[in-house]
């Protein structure tokens, strides 16, 4: 056999061997990181201390079950420079830890520290600086062509029944809802969220390209990516609204931890997202575990969405 034939044979064998490669079970997962402590808690300025959650990460190749990953025997302590709050496990909810009775309010511009001691010696530490209180000063419905105010909406701070106010009744796709607030110190960025409060209300998107079942894909709660909003004016996009009835739009002023988590969270629905360069580990800002310990200040505006005539 000539050298050329030998070369051709070896090459063909190598190529065919390579072409015949098959995937082994588990090849789509990396080295497992099971059992990593996961802490979940965020403070809202002016509201009572929140519940906290402690869990562990699970095998990626197996079905995820909350009951198997929840940690119920951790020591959870939240502290400021002057106070220390010992959390207790919630006997009715696996992995949930409740603040001490009395539920002190979260103070603005304050450093809070979290210490979680798990069995087996694992410890998780985190800290957050709460922002100053955020106040919505104005909510207006703009003309969508001229961008001039059509009317102002009633605010929760004014004390009235905002959902009954005629000026807070907004016809679907009519105008642009804009809220104005003063920039808040201690804030890394802002985030908007919209909640549909009437859980049985009508699905109001009338689009030929949607199938009947598609309405199930529209959530009643949604949020924006983090936004800078340097001018203190935020507008509600209509694609965030899918249902008629009462709605609340929250404006959050985020601390650095909350901001880092949401800006680095992979967008799983995006084209190629979970395999491309955007699939990455979020910034958790916790020592000894993953999750979120962050804070924000929040204010809200309420309104009612009316179906188009």
């Amino acid at each position: 056999m000539t050298i050329l034939r030998q070369f051709t044979f070896v090459l063909s064998a190598a190529v065919l061997g390579g072409c015949a490669a098959e995937r082994q079970p588990g090849d789509l997962f990396g080295p497992h990181e099971t059992g990593v402590p996961v802490v979940d808690g965020f403070l809202l300025v002016g509201q009572p201390l929140p519940d906290l959650f402690v869990r562990r990460s699970a095998d990626p190749a197996e079905e995820y079950r909350l009951e198997t990953v929840s940690v119920n025997d951790a020591e959870v302590i939240l502290s400021t420079g002057v106070a220390e709050y010992h959390y207790q496990p919630d006997p009715d909810s696996a992995g949930r830890y409740l603040p001490p009775p009395g539920k002190p309010l979260v103070a603005p511009l304050t450093l809070y520290r979290l210490h979680v001691q798990l069995s087996g010696g694992d410890q998780v530490h985190g800290k957050t600086h709460t922002p100053a209180q955020l106040r919505i000063e104005e909510a207006v419905l703009l003309d969508d062509a001229e961008l001039t105010p059509k009317r102002s909406l009633a605010l929760f701070a004014e004390g009235g029944e905002v959902f009954i106010e005629p000026r807070n009744q907004i016809e679907y796709l009519d105008g642009i809802l804009e809220v104005a607030f003063s920039p808040v110190s201690g804030t890394a960025a802002y985030q908007l969220a919209v909640f549909s409060l009437d859980l049985e209300s009508e699905f109001i998107i009338d689009a030929d390209f949607l199938e009947k079942d598609d309405s199930e894909d529209f959530e009643r709660r949604g949020s924006s990516p983090p936004l800078e909003i340097a001018d203190g004016r935020a507008r509600l996009p209509w694609f965030a609204i899918a249902y008629a009835g009462r709605h609340v739009m929250h404006v959050y002023g985020l601390d650095a931890n909350w901001y880092d988590l949401v800006r680095t969270m992979p967008e799983g629905e995006f084209f190629g997202g979970l395999a491309g360069d955007s699939f990455q580990r979020p910034l958790f800002r916790l020592q000894g575990g993953i999750g979120l310990f962050g804070s924000a200040s929040v204010d809200s505006v309420g309104f009612v969405i009316l179906p188009r005539p």
Partner: protein, 751 residues
């Protein structure tokens, strides 16, 4: 033969005269062109008196041989694929002599034109292309290769060793470990900023229009600059100087036509290509199925005039556009438009027979606009990059063995990226940087036969007031009759950075790097051996290494709206990396059966402090093994081609755990997967076979070819990326696959 021009040697700048040294006798100069169409033939070899004196033509087909003593000399001009031109010239002491040589194509005894005639890889050319990693691809060579839909230069280049594709739907070039942004793509010496159609599926280069494609895979010479990695230099045809002619074709995707002809003392060429998908899509829409409307087109035009003996003026233009519309009703629609425009005016002037000058004014623009309305909420992304360039090059043919080239380039850029959401401005980034560059380069052949190309390029970029001196060196040393040793290297800078979106090139935009991030730089070294046992075969092995610093990568985590945006806000910066590998290339150039076998063993790594804790990772396009086998066979009126490709699977980031978190803004629990180390796992290897079958025929007295091409013959469902379903923790990951088998038909004609 009669001399077209005679005259005393014109005044040459003093420095160049000093450099030239010897007292001039007379200069033999001239143009070498193809006899059929008058197109200039680069790298044609002129030998005087049996090779005692000689020279090679430049890219415009011009050569000059100085210091010829008075006398009568036999002259031979050769170029592979063309019949040698032989004559005798008489040189006197007083007069220089200029000739125009028209070479006729060789024909095989089969009576069939040798398609390989356009292959520029002659032994002489190899001496000229002293650089390693130099590739020249001729239109006729491309035509015989199986393609997806229609012939495409960039896709054909992906079959060469050291060049990878990102996917079946991408014409982007990933060369020797560099991304598409690290390769400069020039059309008639002007950058095209996004040379693709259909989201990267096709390149903007129309096959009938292109005269030459030259690629420097690394260590490119000093007359190019502006990118870290490689240079692709595409030259369009000048137009047929001999007769009115045309070419065209119809494929399942588009129709195209190129017309050309002589005009006065010059030529012209116009060409157009357009998809005809839109009427088909409109018919589908009319039947009630929601599909978008889409089309793209290209327009090329070029004209040149010889203005007296020493001047030539050339103007050229390119326009390309993609347009996608999708109106879904319910106040929801999408419109995406993008395209390049470029125009040049070039003045070529002979200061003397030995001093050749080219001066050019050019403008290039890439613009894209993505506007959408989602349930009455408008969103708009608009970006534009414009440049205006003044460029000048002087080429001095000092002796038969030395050519000195120097040049300058002044480029003013205007870059703008705007983003609006719900009628609110989110980004408005506008920059007007300026780039000044100059270079000097000496091509010399030493008495030992060593060919040395030594260059130095200097640049100043206004953003950050950055200056750089970048030496370049290439050496080619003959080791006997058929063996050559080559080595080369250089330093490189890149001041503009591409911000690209995965899988969708229509939204790509460029930004200048300001002084908030370190400058992006590389140095490269390469060495190799070339063996040409006969004119028919060539075997080459090359090793390369690139060291990269100051790399940037788009920061997907940046806040969505920001004023006063700086480079540090857009990019993760100050990355480093390297790319190294060995390429093997064996090519059969002539005969019924032609083609090549290429193999690359490569390794590419990147390191960013902000990614993966500063650990190095493989970019997605890193390939350990890459094999390509390209063959074509001709028998009478029939010809066929077969391509086989094999490559290591693409790198991807695997999930390592599942967990759940409440999303703080909505207070809803989400099941999530935890990303492992960046690109630490591999998809299955990539492989496919493409075939083509062609038959020559006559159609309305014009030469024509009908073809059938089958992409991915055995419909291998190569893997593209992995999707982990976070919403349903019981679901297995989904591997999204690439294109299945796709047959296409078409016809091409020429008159």
């Amino acid at each position: 033969m009669s001399p077209l021009v005679t005259g005393a040697t014109a005044r040459i700048p003093g420095l160049l005269l000093l450099w030239a040294g010897a007292v001039s006798a007379a200069t033999l100069s001239g143009y070498v062109r193809g006899s059929e169409d008058g197109e200039p033939l680069a790298s044609a070899a002129t030998a005087v008196s049996g090779g005692k004196w000689g020279g090679l033509t430049n890219d415009r087909g011009y050569f000059a041989i100085r210091n010829l003593p008075a006398g009568r000399y036999p002259v031979v001009v050769t170029h592979i694929g063309y019949e040698a031109w032989r004559d005798t010239v008489e040189v006197t002491d007083a007069d220089d002599l200029r000739i125009v040589v028209r070479l006729r194509r060789e024909t095989l005894d089969l009576g069939v034109e040798i398609a390989v005639s356009a292959d520029r890889e002659t032994s002489q050319e190899q001496e000229r292309s002293v650089q390693l990693g130099y590739v020249a691809l001729a239109p006729r060579q491309l035509q015989s290769m199986p393609a997806l839909g229609e012939s495409d230069y960039l896709r054909s280049l992906q079959l060469l060793p050291g060049i990878q594709a990102a996917s079946d739907v991408s014409s982007g070039l990933y060369i020797r470990g560099g991304g598409p942004d690290q390769t400069q793509i020039l059309l008639d010496e002007i950058p095209l900023y996004n040379p693709s159609h259909a989201f990267g599926f096709f390149s903007t280069f129309t096959p009938d229009v292109v005269r030459d494609v030259q690629l420097w895979k690394s260590a490119y010479p000093a007359n190019y600059g502006g990118n870290l990695g490689a240079v692709l230099d595409v030259a369009n045809r000048d137009g047929n100087r001999e007769r009115f002619a045309g070419r065209g074709g119809l494929s399942l995707v588009s129709g195209r036509l190129m017309l050309e002809g002589p005009v006065y003392a010059g030529s012209w060429m116009v060409a157009g290509r357009r998809t005809y998908l839109d009427p088909v899509l409109a018919a589908v829409r009319a039947s009630g199925v929601d599909v978008p409307g889409y089309y793209f087109y290209d327009l090329n035009a070029k004209a040149n005039q010889q203005l007296g003996a020493a001047n030539e003026l050339t103007v050229s233009g390119y326009f390309g556009r993609d347009d996608l519309d999708f109106d879904l009703g319910a106040k929801t629609f999408f419109n995406i438009r993008w395209g390049n425009r470029a125009g040049t005016a070039r003045w070529t002037h002979l200061f003397s027979p030995a001093l050749y000058g080219q001066f050019m004014a050019a403008a290039s623009e890439y613009e894209s606009t993505i506007s959408a309305t989602l349930f009455a909420t408008p969103v708009m992304f608009a970006n534009r990059i414009q440049d205006l360039t003044i460029k000048g090059d002087l080429e001095f043919f000092a002796t038969s063995d030395h050519t000195l080239t120097t040049g300058f380039r002044v480029t003013g850029y205007e870059l703008r990226f705007r983003q609006f959401f719900n009628q609110q401005k989110q980004f408005d980034l506008e920059e007007r940087p300026m780039l000044l560059e100059a270079f000097v380069q000496e091509d010399g052949r030493l008495p030992t036969g060593t060919h040395v190309r030594l260059g130095l390029r200097g640049s100043w970029f206004s953003e950050g007031d950055r200056t750089a001196l970048m030496p370049r060196l290439s050496v080619s040393q003959p080791l006997g009759e058929s063996l050559r040793l080559k080595a080369g290297g250089g330093a490189y800078r890149q001041y503009l950075q591409l911000v690209t979106t995965e899988g969708f090139s229509g939204g790509d935009f460029w930004v200048p790097l300001d002084d908030s991030v370190p400058e992006t730089r590389s140095w490269q070294a390469a060495a190799g051996l070339e063996w040409e046992p006969s004119h028919r075969y060539k075997v080459a092995v090359e090793g390369y290494y690139s060291d990269l610093d100051g790399l940037v990568v788009i920061d997907n985590d940046t806040v969505a709206d920001s004023d006063d945006t700086r480079s540090e806000d857009i990019f993760k910066s100050n990355g480093s990396g390297y790319a190294t590998g060995i390429e093997l290339f064996a090519k059969k150039r002539t005969g019924r059966l032609r083609g090549w076998l290429g193999y690359t063993l490569g390794r590419t790594r990147r390191t960013f402090a902000e990614i993966d804790g500063g650990r190095s990772f493989a970019p997605r396009y890193d390939r350990r093994h890459d094999i390509s086998l390209v063959t074509s066979y001709r028998a009478g009126l029939w010809s066929w081609g077969v391509n086989f490709l094999y490559a290591t699977g693409q790198a991807f980031t695997p999930a390592t755990a599942r967990y759940s978190l409440r999303m703080p803004a909505t207070d809803e629990v989400e099941d999530l997967v935890l990303a492992g180390r960046r690109n630490s796992a591999r998809l299955l290897p990539y492989h496919r076979v493409d075939v083509s079958l062609r038959r020559e025929m006559t159609m309305f007295s014009a030469a024509a070819q009908v073809y059938l091409q089958i992409f991915n013959l055995y419909s291998r469902r190569n893997e593209w990326f992995v999707q982990y379903d976070t919403e349903n923790p019981a679901t297995e990951p989904e591997v999204v696959q690439q294109l299945p088998v796709i047959p296409t038909l078409g016809i091409e004609f020429e008159f």
